[in-house]
């Protein structure tokens, strides 16, 4: 069985793991020093490209490629915006890194800044993570004190990096890259029209690189241990490690740092299994399509694997559900979340989330009508691909997959007003509203 490969998570269970001393003792800031002093910016980008590092935030976009989109010869200021607004239900890997290993993010940010020629970094952290905010602010202060932030870092003339921790205030949509930029700019977290993409016109209208904090946190290790080491994990197209957030019906929930390509079964077993038979799994955060168990046990968790199975890797947040889970109830829970978190900018998402949650609530209360399922699918269909950001997909895909895979449960609910799963109780009715 695959054993966890502890890289980011090696020291996180120690006390004071978030201090710079602990980080330096683990060899911190050496990789960045080496990369920044010994490599040219183009070489750094090339190195990242060759490593095959892809974004760990959800979309899986190749990091090196993203950096190379930023215009080189521009006198406009460029920004690095780090996305720590982790709000996808089921995901908690960023929280762990930001709270307990924050200096890896700062060190990675230094490499990114050196590569793209950036001197200002904003790290956007969720408003609901006060501890992470305090730790990051502390870490930034320590880094300034030790000269890892500020002017002429590593003694390189003109290599100045300023980093500011920007605290959000409770909006899932700020996890979307342009929504996050709007929020940093001090506005409502409305995603922006694309094109122009952030790499050309992002924060304050300037070229901006947006990366997930974990993506950035891996950079020091890739530079420190080399492309060979990194590529020894995972597959050709999806190399490297991934912190999987495993939650739901397993004995030992938590972040498991494993190579890309482990199967869902391996993850389940690593996490201690569960006493009851399993029914379904969400492989990549709540907005990815649900997969039916046991059909999906052997899906490899790479960027391509879940996609072939009809879902996506997303943020690698794996939520297991056992047979007692009522899928109508589960969908209602998720849709309520999306209804609450839709920014309301585009019509299909603003109206579609509200409408679908009303229908599913009605079904869960036993008042479903024939035709409701078709209407639900119609809503998803009408919304997906028709909004500014991918939020429509985020609430459309669950609708499509829950209804497609567990249509019998929905139909039974509509027919009898009750749930068919063994031992499950319709609970949404009690929580309506």
């Amino acid at each position: 069985m695959t054993e966890p490969v502890k890289v980011l998570t090696e020291f996180v269970h120690e006390d004071e793991s978030w201090t710079i001393d602990r980080y330096l003792r683990a060899g911190g800031y050496e990789a960045a020093r080496k990369a920044c002093t010994e490599m040219q910016p183009e070489e750094i980008i090339d190195f990242v490209k060759r490593s095959g590092l892809r974004g760990r935030g959800g979309a899986g976009f190749p990091t090196g490629l993203k950096w190379s989109f930023v215009p080189k010869d521009t006198d406009r200021p460029k920004f690095l915006a780090l996305n720590g607004d982790e709000s996808e239900p089921g995901t908690f890997k960023d929280r762990l890194v930001m709270e307990r290993w924050p200096h890896s993010i700062i060190e990675g940010a230094l490499i990114a800044c050196r590569a793209v020629g950036i001197s200002t970094v904003y790290l956007y952290i969720r408003g609901e993570m006060p501890l992470g905010y305090r730790r990051l602010v502390g870490a930034v202060k320590e880094a300034y004190d030790r000269g890892f932030l500020g002017k002429n870092i590593f003694g390189i003339d003109g290599f100045d990096v300023d980093m500011t921790i920007h605290r959000g205030a409770g909006a899932y949509i700020c996890g979307e890259e342009t929504g996050m930029l709007s929020s940093i700019e001090g506005g409502r977290g409305y995603p922006k029209l694309k094109p122009p993409f952030p790499a050309v016109s992002g924060l304050f209208g300037m070229p901006t690189v947006v990366n997930n904090v974990v993506t950035i946190a891996y950079l020091p290790y890739i530079f420190g241990r080399g492309i060979e080491w990194w590529r020894s994990f995972g597959t050709e197209k999806s190399p490297g490690l991934m912190p999987y957030s495993v939650s739901g019906h397993v004995e030992r929930r938590g972040v498991y740092e494993l190579p890309l390509g482990v199967t869902l079964r391996e993850l389940f077993e690593l996490a201690g299994g569960w006493s009851r038979p399993m029914k379904a799994v969400i492989p990549g955060g709540s907005s990815s399509k649900v997969l039916r168990l046991p059909d999906a046990w052997d899906v490899p968790m790479t960027f391509e694997g879940p996609m072939e199975a009809g879902s996506m890797l997303g943020s690698a947040a794996v939520v297991f559900m056992d047979e007692t889970v009522c899928m109508v109830d589960a969908l209602y829970n998720l849709l309520r979340f999306y209804e609450h978190e839709s920014c309301g900018q585009c019509t299909p998402c603003r109206e579609g989330t509200g409408w679908s949650v009303k229908i599913v609530r009605r079904i869960a209360q036993g008042k479903g009508r024939p035709g409701d399922i078709e209407t639900l699918l119609g809503i998803a269909d009408q919304a997906i691909g028709k909004t500014i950001c991918v939020f429509a997909e985020a609430f459309g895909w669950p609708i499509q997959s829950y209804v497609a895979l567990f249509r019998d449960e929905f139909e039974a609910y509509i027919r009898k007003g009750a749930h068919v799963a063994h031992g499950a109780q319709p609970q949404a009715a009690a929580h309506a509203g």
Partner: protein
């Protein structure tokens, strides 16, 4: 353009200094709005009409724009909230592991439904949308304090810490 009845407020010198420092961290003043609102929340306990007017004045935007931003984000403490806000996570991973029971217990203990404020104004109970702590579900947050693996038995002790 706000009503004249609103009393003028001012930041304390330390907060004022922090605000000035923040202004230097961003290329545009408007970007300081979110951090400034946190400062105001801390200074005055919540963000009310006067607080928004103060933010508008300091940033140099209209009070309506501040209201627009404040109302977009759910995490700011408003004047309609209790002294402490209890955020109890109810999203799917937590719901799978007993968030409902915790919420019900909290509702029973406090005698209010989610979204309401206790009669004595001490607590507001709110459903949170994923606190990114799915591994320690059920979980809740009271203001800035996070509680993992909360059981009904612990509630009395936890709530007693907030006077």
């Amino acid at each position: 353009m706000s009503a004249e009845t609103v009393d003028k407020r001012e930041l304390s010198p330390e907060a004022r200094k922090e605000f000035e420092w923040l202004c230097g961290r961003y290329p545009r003043r408007r970007a300081v709005l979110l951090p400034l609102l946190r400062i105001i929340e801390r200074e005055f306990g919540c963000i009310d009409e006067a607080g928004m007017a103060l933010a508008a004045e300091l940033i140099g935007i209209s009070a309506a724009e501040v209201k627009s931003v404040v109302s977009f984000y759910t995490h700011y403490k408003r004047d309609t909230d209790g002294k402490y806000v209890i955020w109890v996570c109810n999203t799917l991973p937590c719901a799978l592991r007993g968030a409902r029971e915790l919420t019900d217990a909290l509702e029973r203990k406090l005698g209010v439904r989610c979204g309401q404020r206790t009669a004595d104004g001490r607590f507001s109970l709110k459903k949170a949308e994923c606190l990114a702590s799915c591994d320690t579900a059920p979980c809740m947050q009271i203001d800035d304090d996070h509680y993992d693996h909360v059981t009904e038995q612990q509630l009395d002790e936890i709530l007693a810490r907030y006077e």
